[in-house]
């Protein structure tokens, strides 16, 4: 997106008030431009020269670098920008640009020769009469040409602008294309005469101009504009002649735009003349020039007519999603420099006249957008499309399951129901009646209680896979049920995680690694005791694990899990011999507090 540099104080003066930076940023944001950088002339120069940046002193002029949309050529200089914002703020009405009414005979003429079609076929022109420049507006005039050349003119490929002091010239003008050796003139900023082919050679070392040479370099003829006295106005798209150079004192400016794309040439010309007609004696009036083609066709430029578009109200309100009346819409459009009124016909329709400054308006959708911008994007009520939200707890447990699988553990899926003996006695635990949900009418002793840990299922799985090659590494993420006074039914589910290693040694270290890995993928860090910002490991004392061979995981001060070597009595004497390691972890509902009761066993 193009960036325009404007002096802050001049801008505020043009806006009729000053803003804090934040206020101005908000204004930009709602209008759709952006304050990109705040700097000073000095800082820009030292940056260009790669010098150390001096501290800006108070009297340096503050410069705002403002990003504007790539299709808004009318905003490429201070004059256009300030005018657009004044109108947006309702401080000013939309100007009506007019073409001066002069007779065909007294109109300046530009004759186009046939050969120009070989290289650069189009030219459009206009005159700004009775202009008064000051230093700032003069610089702005030069800068705007530069910005246009960089953007819509595609580095002068499509369009090149020449501006001249009309009082040094005499019409009619001719636009010709001649073999380079036949063109001879003193170019801008030079004192001696150059032949066009020599000039091209000369500019090969000119940093600014050399990048435009390729546009005509290989052509047998070069485009050139002469006045009645064969004074060269310009060698487009490279350089103007020195003779007609404009100065601060210039009163009458002749503007010519040569092009390979006529539409863009007209836009460029209109942008130049509408923007700077504000400094003319007759404000917003431009003097036309007749361009006469070699085949006799004649056209008068600039074409400042307004483009009329009829837009149904329903299209605007139906696209934005806000009910608006006709006069609300027309008022909003006026803030965007679009004159609008209720269309004559009975149906609710709006007749929009697009001024020559708004070449970006192609379709009613562009008008609709301007209504939305003036209304304020952020004032539009949102409408929700249908969508679903999954359960975070289950999403998280799915992610943890794949992490554990990637650690080489195989997932098992065991039953929720088990015998009382399996849930308590076989784990060296006593049923104190405070934890487990008891089934009233079990069909067999296998279904007496709802499990309170994943251990019975894990151990039974190993017991029934005695012939499976060792080591065995399995895990399960699943729910248990605990008695819970806070629940209406008196019981609630918990999601737990358990992992088990079974091999010739305990595998304690392996399970310890898994604990670390799970904590790592949950984004928690290992901390020294008793730091509460992460997790640490401490010796624990649970009956299903061997004394001194078990540990609890403390996360943010809370025990979230336990791992250890399963007590040999649990293994050999009651359950399914010989060894294994079990780890179990509860996923809390609050996923940032993942964790709880890791068990580990041999």
């Amino acid at each position: 997106m193009p960036t325009v540099s404007v002096g802050r104080d001049r801008l505020f003066a043009a806006l009729g008030r000053s803003y804090t930076q934040e206020e101005f940023e908000d204004l930009c944001f709602s209008f759709g431009i952006e304050l990109d950088d705040v700097t000073t002339e000095k800082a820009i120069i030292s940056k260009e020269k790669h010098l150390e940046e001096d501290k800006p002193s108070a009297d340096d002029e503050i410069i705002y670098k403002i990003e504007v949309p790539a299709n808004r050529y009318d905003l490429l200089c201070l004059e256009g920008l300030a005018q657009a914002l004044r109108i947006f703020n309702g401080q000013e009405k939309i100007p009506r640009y007019t073409v001066a009414e002069i007779s065909k005979e007294s109109m300046l003429k530009m004759h186009v020769k046939k050969e120009t079609s070989l290289i650069r076929p189009f030219v459009v022109c206009a005159v700004l009469r009775g202009i008064t420049f000051d230093e700032a507006s003069y610089n702005s005039f030069i800068d705007l040409q530069d910005k246009l050349h960089q953007n819509i003119c595609r580095k002068r490929m499509l369009v090149a602008i020449g501006t001249h002091d009309l009082d040094t010239l005499q019409g009619p003008f001719t636009y010709e294309a001649l073999p380079p050796p036949e063109i001879n003139f003193v170019p801008l900023k030079q004192v001696k005469n150059f032949r066009a082919d020599e000039l091209m050679e000369f500019y090969k070392s000119d940093l600014k101009l050399k990048k435009f040479l390729h546009i005509i370099e290989n052509s047998s003829v070069f485009p050139v504009i002469y006045d009645h006295n064969r004074t060269v106005l310009s060698l487009p798209p490279i350089i103007n002649g020195a003779h007609s150079a404009i100065t601060l004192k210039t009163k009458n400016v002749f503007i010519e735009c040569t092009a390979t794309d006529l539409t863009k040439a007209k836009i460029v010309l209109n942008t130049m003349v509408t923007t700077f007609s504000t400094y003319c004696k007759r404000k917003f009036e431009v003097e036309p020039v007749e361009v006469i083609s070699f085949d006799g066709n004649s056209s008068v430029f600039p074409d400042l007519s307004e483009y009329n578009m009829e837009v149904p109200l329903s299209y605007i309100t139906g696209s934005i999603g806000v009910p608006l009346e006709v006069d609300e819409v027309t008022n909003l459009l006026k803030r965007m420099q679009l004159n609008a009124e209720k269309a004559g016909s009975g149906a609710s329709s709006i007749s929009v006249s697009v001024p020559p400054t708004r070449s970006d308006i192609l379709h009613p959708c562009d008008v609709m957008e301007d209504v939305a911008i003036a209304y304020g994007y952020n004032n539009i009520p949102k409408r929700k499309l249908s969508s679903l939200k999954p359960l975070p707890l289950n999403q998280l447990s799915d992610l943890i399951r794949s992490e554990i699988s990637m650690n080489g553990f195989t997932e098992v899926l065991t039953w929720i129901l088990c015998s009382k003996k399996e849930n308590f006695e076989m784990l060296n635990r006593k049923d104190d009646k405070s934890t487990a949900v008891i089934i009233g009418n079990p069909r067999s002793c296998d279904f007496e209680v709802v499990r309170t840990s994943l251990m019975p299922g894990m151990l039974k799985t190993v017991g029934h896979n005695k012939d499976h090659p060792k080591p065995i590494k399995i895990y399960e993420v699943g729910d248990v049920v605990l008695l819970d006074d806070k629940k209406d039914v008196g019981a609630s589910n918990r999601c737990l995680l358990a992992a088990l290693y079974c091999g010739a040694s305990s595998g304690f270290e392996l399970i310890h690694s898994l604990v670390d890995r799970i904590m790592e993928v949950m984004g928690t860090s290992f901390v020294p005791v008793p730091d509460k910002s992460g997790y640490f490991i401490e010796l624990s004392d649970e009956p299903e694990f061997l004394l001194g061979r078990q540990a609890k995981i403390i996360y943010k001060g809370k025990r979230i899990g336990i791992f250890g070597i399963v007590h040999p009595e649990v293994l050999t004497e009651r359950l399914y011999g010989p060894y294994g390691c079990l780890l179990c972890c509860l996923l809390n509902k609050r996923v940032d507090r993942i964790g709880c009761s890791f068990y580990l066993a041999t």
Partner: protein, 488 residues
């Protein structure tokens, strides 16, 4: 032996005050004693306290003189008792370094006359330096002045001696029990696990690194984005076509042929295959017309549209090229609403720096339905971004050739305390949709963002090359946590 000595000694005595003395009393090496103390301390058989002492040890030169005598005495002895010896003769009898140092020291001591001829000035000397060195070697104390003079001659250096004082620990026993490091199958089979005493675990250290596979952080984030789209009822578009024609990448999107994005500065054009073989001709005709002269209520761009430009192949600069193909196919069917998404690679001819790569991933979502409004767009963006934890959004008018209205999406970043641009959105222009054949009231709202930028913000990475590409540190991939985007 050392262990028995220590544990045995403590059976009767309260304390071993100095492990150094203890070692020499028992004829043991101090280093052996130290190792045993450390091990016993670890199992709490004993409590050991560090003790430190400054002591002096001989340098290599000092050791040499302690054995052979000081150079000045060696020189003195080489001078005959009577008469004299020529200096050259004397030099031949001694090592060069001994001669040099000997001359200066013996001269300083006024033991000899140093001239061309050397003769004794006294008849008898004592080798005090040698004696002092031997005393230092034996660990005996010597006077301060002597220390300084030996130090000055670099014959001794200071050394810190470390040892322990030792008392009984909580687990003290006169004999150490055998400790096991792990419970094994054999222990269980023999049944001796009941008698086992285990070495304590050290929980101050993490477990050994796990043997695990790891997914790439960026693709983990991509997966979460996919999940979010699927939850919102979006269907994934087939994006496995990096090579695209300018027509589908630009022209069909109503992007004019002189648009700067179509410059070779921004887009990778192809040498082979340089052009596309076929395009849907009747649709191409409609696209050409809408660019040149508009229609469908539009003025068009009013320029000469060139087929050669549209035929040029490129690496797609956005996945919207795919969206365009999908919408074109959709418009061929009787109308049915659709929600599409894609997350895949796009290419830009940019110079690579901290925030730019020549290729990156674009996330794109679009909704195609009758009578959609800007309110729907704002609503769907609000839903999408609030699932990412960004619920504070605002929208800025913007320009994009194929959307109108266009909105840049900003989110308030709590960490940075400012509004950050997080994506772009808009309604596709009628000039893009109507030539495809959609009914007039069908609108398409769409938004796009890069996958890399939110990922960089999420993980606090400020150089894109640390996240994506061959320069990425593998340990970053390994350490990377589960992506909880959309899970809260």
């Amino acid at each position: 032996m050392a262990e028995d000595a220590i544990l045995g000694y403590l059976a009767a005595a309260e304390e071993i005050p100095d492990s150094g003395q203890f070692a020499s009393q028992h004829g043991l090496h101090h280093s052996d004693i130290v190792n045993v103390i450390k091990s016993l301390h670890g199992f709490r058989y004993i409590d050991a306290q560090d003790i430190k002492r400054e002591s002096w040890v001989l340098t290599d030169e000092g050791k040499k003189y302690a054995a052979e005598g000081s150079p000045e005495v060696q020189l003195f002895l080489a001078v005959p008792q009577e008469g004299s010896i020529s200096k050259d003769e004397l030099q031949k009898k001694l090592e060069p370094s001994v001669f040099k140092i000997g001359c200066s020291q013996a001269g300083k001591n006024k033991w000899v006359d140093m001239g061309k001829q050397v003769s004794r000035k006294v008849q008898h000397v004592e080798d005090k330096v040698k004696d002092l060195l031997i005393r230092v070697q034996n660990g005996e104390e010597i006077g301060k002045d002597d220390v300084n003079s030996l130090k000055a001659r670099k014959l001794i250096v200071a050394q810190t001696w470390k040892g322990y004082s030792v008392r009984k620990g909580p687990n003290y026993a006169p004999k150490r029990k055998k400790v096991a490091t792990d419970l094994t199958r054999e222990n269980l089979q023999r049944g001796d696990w009941k008698e086992l005493e285990f070495k304590e675990y050290n929980f101050n250290a993490k477990g050994p690194p796990s043997e695990s596979g790891h997914l790439h952080p960026l693709l983990k984030v991509k997966q979460q984005f996919k999940n979010i789209f699927v939850q919102m009822g979006f269907e994934e578009m087939p994006t496995n076509n990096f090579v695209e024609s300018s027509f589908w990448n630009f022209d069909a999107l109503f992007q004019p042929q002189q648009h700067p994005a179509r410059d070779s500065h921004d887009t990778f054009f192809l040498e082979a295959p340089s052009t596309t073989r076929e395009l849907p001709e009747d649709y191409v005709e409609l696209v050409k017309r809408v660019h040149e002269s508009g229609g469908y209520g539009s003025r068009g761009y009013m320029y000469d549209w060139k087929r050669e430009e549209a035929n040029k192949n490129l690496l797609r600069t956005h996945t919207t090229a795919v969206s365009t193909r999908m919408l074109y196919a959709l418009a061929k069917q009787p109308f049915a609403p659709k929600r599409y998404f894609s997350i895949d690679r796009v290419f830009r001819n940019e110079s690579v720096d901290r925030t730019h790569l020549a290729e990156f991933h674009q996330i794109e979502g679009l909704v195609c339905d009758r009578k959609l409004t800007l309110g729907d767009l704002i609503g769907v963006l609000d839903d999408f971004f609030s699932r990412l934890g960004m619920s504070k959004l605002r929208f800025k008018p913007a320009y994009n050739p194929y959307t109108e209205p266009s909105m840049e999406i900003f989110s308030y970043h709590e960490g940075l305390k400012k509004w950050v641009e997080i994506g772009n959105s808009g309604m596709f222009r009628p000039e893009m949709l109507l030539p495809m054949g959609f009914p007039e009231d069908v609108r398409v709202i769409a938004w796009g963002l890069s996958l890399e930028r939110p990922t960089m913000i999420l993980y606090g990475i400020d150089n894109i090359r640390d996240l994506f590409g061959h320069k990425v540190d593998l340990s970053l991939i390994k350490r990377n946590p589960i992506c909880r985007l959309g899970i809260n």
